[in-house]
Each structure stands twice: as C-alpha cells, then as structure tokens.
Amino acid sequence: MQAVGLTTLRSYRQMGISARLAIGGALLLALVIVVGLISLSLGPVDISVGDVAWIVLSALGFDTPEFGRTEQLVIEQIRLPRIIVVAIAAGFTGLFFLALPLFAFAGAIAAAFLVYGIAVVGGHFSMATLLLAGVAVNAFLGAIVSAIIIFLPDNELLREVLFWLAGGLDARAWEHVRIATPLIVGSTAVLLLMSRDLNLMMLGDDEARSMGVRVGVTRVALLATAALATGAAVAVSGTIAFVGLVIPHVLRLVLGPDNRVLIPMSALGGAVFVMAADTVARMVIEPAEIRVGILTAFVGAPFFIFLLIKNKRQVYSL
C-alpha cells in the first residue's frame, strides 16, 4: 500500500507543471466541494446533502427542483457565508498578526515590515533573524493585546475580543465574504505570479540574483502581498492558529517544494482543513461551539510535530 502511494507520488513529481496543477487542483477542489456540502448539511436544522446541493445550485442561478424555504434561508444566509469565509480565509490564517478587524490590514502590514526591517538591519537579510524578530514582535504585540484586554471597561466587550482572538467563524455574513474575497483572491494571484522567483530565492539570495531575480524588490512585494491577504483573512475570521503552518508544510512533503504548485494547493488544502475543523467544532458539543482556532491548534500542532519527527526525510527524498 505504502509502496503504491510512493510510486504514485514519485510519478506525480515528475509531471510537467500544468499536469501537476490540473491533477492536484482537481482532487483538492473535489474535496473542497464534498467537505463543503457535508459541512453545509450539518447543524441544528437537519438538511440532507442532496438538498444542500440543489440550494447551492439554485443560488448560482441554475434550474432546480423545489425545496423548503427555511432550509434555503438557513443555507443561504447562515451557513454558506460562513463556509465561504472559511474557505477563502483558510489558506492564509496561520500567521499571528494581532490587530483588531478595522485596522487589520494596516496592522498586518506594519507588523510584517517591522519584522522584515529588523531582519535586514545592516543591509544583510537573514532567515534566522527574521524568525526571531517575528517571535519578538509577536510577544511585544501580544503584551499590548493583553494590556488592552485587562483594561477593557465591560465584560461584553471582553468576551468579544477573546472570541475573536481564539478564531471563530460564527455569525459570518455575506458582508464578510465581500470584504475578504477580492483581497485574498487578488493576493493569491499576485503570489502565484511571483512563485517562480520564490523558488529561486529558496536557493539563497546570491543564487537568485545570479539567475536574474531582483531579490530585494521581490521580497518586499511578496511580504506586502502575504501581509495583505493575511490581514484580510484575520479581519474576518480572527486568528485561527496553525493552519498556515501545517497545511503548506504537509502539502510540501507530499507534492514537493515547487511554489507554483504549492501556493494554489495550500489555499485549497487550507479550505478543506478549516471547513472540516469548523464542522467538528460546531457539532461535538452541540449546541455550544468549540472555537475553531482552538481546535485547529489542538489538532495541527501535534500533527505537525509528528510529521517533523517521523516522516520528513522519508517523504522528502522521493
């Protein structure tokens, strides 16, 4: 079984870029649809997967058989926006930029450039410094957030802030979809256009430069785009931990390091993962909800550590 899996993976890795994108994309998109329909059908109002499919199709403007008004309302106004927020936000929610929704974009970009600025002090970029600067800035901003929470005047506000910090997808409406979609889809497209440069930059700055990549400009552009997308995602979903760390790394072990494949596949894979996590979070202790951010961290962190220890070498060196 394992041998068959490895052979399949090996031949996948050897396909051309278009084939890898088409096959990986089709598989993950199918998963997005299946998990999405299941997620839509589950909830306090019981709706069959079949009805869900008809309601979604009719919302898209197709001719469909009759279904109940209540079901339609529940799907279109409550569950669908939530699911779409989940799906589009998911690829990008792994970074821990802490800023309240209104200022999320500005905050994300400011934090990103603060971290980057520290990492390039002295004119030389260093990955280790970047990570450490990220940890330090995160701790600093975290302290500010703690201070704000402690001095919050009333408990209602306190609850709201804590809920958002734990990452949650309840009560998401079409408004949230409208805010986040263009920013996230646009950023993803820009990242895709820069993904080949990113591949070369993984070999080191000098290597990339000698191959004709404008390293400084490209890095700043990548950072700004990623910060924008992350800011948009966090603004509508709160901080849902570990998705952005786990999903790309897992897919990387399976699909290889080519960012041209990895970026779109991570967006789809993240969508599947968060939709599934969100469904579980809604269903386990009905009618209460576990915060989805807590769930993803609970599942994601140990799984990631497990992968690092157990499988890394084996799967890498296909």
Partner: protein
C-alpha cells in the same frame, strides 16, 4: 588594454574595486576575457577570486570601476538580461529542501521565460541535454539533499548550461570532484570554449590550471600580480611570491603538459621541509598539491 578592433571583449573589467566595511577585497582589478577564451583565476585563499567572479556576475556591485559585458555596462543592465547572457556556478552548491536535480536544472531557463510563461518542451529538452553533458542524468529524479557535494556541483553546472549563457563563470568547479570528473568537467568546459563560449574559472590546482586554460590571472590580496599564458604565469618565482611555496615547473613527459611540483613552504627555507618533500627530490613524485 583598450579596444581591440571590431568586437568588444566578452568580459572587460577595468579598475574594479570592492570592499566590505574597512576591508578592501578587490583593489583596482583589470581583467579581460575575449570571446572563446578559457581564463583561469589563481591565487591563495582570500586573494579575491570568488569576490571577483561574483562582481563580474553582478551578484556583488563593485564600488569603483566598470565591468563591461560584450561592450555593455553591467550595472546598467537589467538582472534578467545579465542572467540570459552569463551564468555563475557557485563553489558551494546550496542545499535546497526537496527540489529534484531536474527541477533545479530547469530553473536555469528562468531568465529566458516571461512572467506568464511556463517551461515547455524546448526547455525540457535543453535541461536534459545539459544533464547529459555533465553526466548527471542518473540524478534526474533524486532530490538535491541526497546527492554528494561533487554530484551537486555537477548538477549546478548543468543548470548553468541550461541557462545557455555566452559567458560562464565557475567558482572552483573541481573542488569537490573526484579525479575522473575533474578531467571530464574541465574537458567539457574546454570543448564548449572551443565552440565559442567564454569561460572564467577560479581554480586551486595549478596542474589543472596549466593544462586546460588559455590564460591565467594570478591574484593576491585583491590585486592582479601577473597574467598571461600559463607558461608565463606559472614560474617558480611567481608561485613563490604569491603562494609562499617553492615549486619546480617542467614539461610532464607523459602528458606533455606544463607540470608543477610543489616542493615545500618557502619560509624556513632549508630547515626541516615537511614530511614528503624531503623524499620527493627526484622531481617526479608529488605533482599534485597535498
């Protein structure tokens, strides 16, 4: 030193200086490579060979002087145009997480592809041909972290060839290679040079330097000490002044190439020469370094 007739030199560096903070690594270096020439950079560790190669490739920006590539000022050229014309093979081929050798070689097509383009069959063919030339086809589906240093170095040469450059810069291309591949790789570059490529390589092994290159440039402490044909540059006097090593230079009776025997460090002359040199006085014994 100036213009010679119709076509400009492939590489023409004039009074190039480069320093980091207070330390001068290149001090007003002049060097030139004509089209179809194989030029070797020799000199002790820290002489500035790698720095010069990185400056010629545009990876480092020289603070003074000008590098002309085929008559165009390097610093005013877009990075992509430089990469489409010139390739650099690094001394230490970086590890990358998970890329296969073929994926790496295919990256050599980067400067030839537009932002919205993906690699096509032509690019695949060029990459495969480059791997055949460097005898790295067998590594095609292996990831770089599973290759040895020398194997990886050859894969990086394959990538440089996939770039289809007119100028090839190599930083100690033989440093990690076994003796067979030292000969085949230098032989390959020599052949490509005979077909019109211009190549500049830093090299430590003076015997290989004597055998494969058209011209040598001897660098020490960031300056050009001397340059010319191998037999002009590799004399016992220049070797002693640049490397501090006593050497004998002669025609190898077997290969008929210029050969250098390193006898021992010049300092402490006559007093206790290190181990093997004492026995090696027949001039034939230790032709290679170390």
């Amino acid at each position: 030193m100036t213009m010679n007739g119709d076509s400009p030199a492939s590489v023409d560096a004039r009074a190039v200086s480069f320093g980091v903070e207070a330390k001068t690594l290149l001090d007003s270096v002049d060097m030139r490579a004509e089209r179809g020439q194989f030029v070797g950079l020799i000199g002790p560790n820290g002489a500035g060979k790698s720095t010069l190669l990185r400056t010629l490739s545009g990876v480092l920006r020289n603070q003074e002087g000008t590098v002309w590539l085929e008559g165009a000022d390097l610093q005013s050229m877009p990075a992509r145009d430089v990469a489409a014309m010139l390739a650099l093979v690094p001394q230490i081929a970086p590890y990358t997480q998970g890329f296969t050798a073929f994926e790496l070689v295919l990256m050599g097509r980067y400067p030839h592809l537009g932002r919205f383009q993906v690699e096509g069959e032509t690019d695949d063919r060029i990459a495969k041909a480059a791997m055949r030339l460097t005898e790295t086809e067998e590594f095609e589906t292996r990831t770089l972290d599973t290759l040895s240093g020398g194997e990886r170095q050859r894969v990086f040469l394959a990538r440089a060839l996939a770039q289809q450059p007119r100028i090839l810069l190599l930083d100690e291309p033989t440093s990690n290679l076994d003796v067979l591949h030292q000969l085949t790789i230098l032989g390959l570059v020599r052949k490509l040079v005979d077909e019109g490529l211009t190549a500049i390589a830093a090299i430590h092994d003076l015997n290989l330097a004597a055998r494969y290159f058209d011209r040598l440039v001897l660098i020490s402490e960031g300056r050009v000490l001397t340059e010319g044909r191998p037999e002009e540059v590799l004399t016992p006097e220049t070797i002693e002044s640049a490397f501090g090593v006593r050497a004998a230079v002669y025609r190898d009776p077997v290969t008929d190439a210029l050969a250098i025997s390193l006898i021992g460090p010049a300092q402490g002359d006559g007093v206790a020469p290190p181990d093997r040199a004492a026995a090696g006085q027949n001039g034939m014994s230790s032709a290679s370094r170390r």
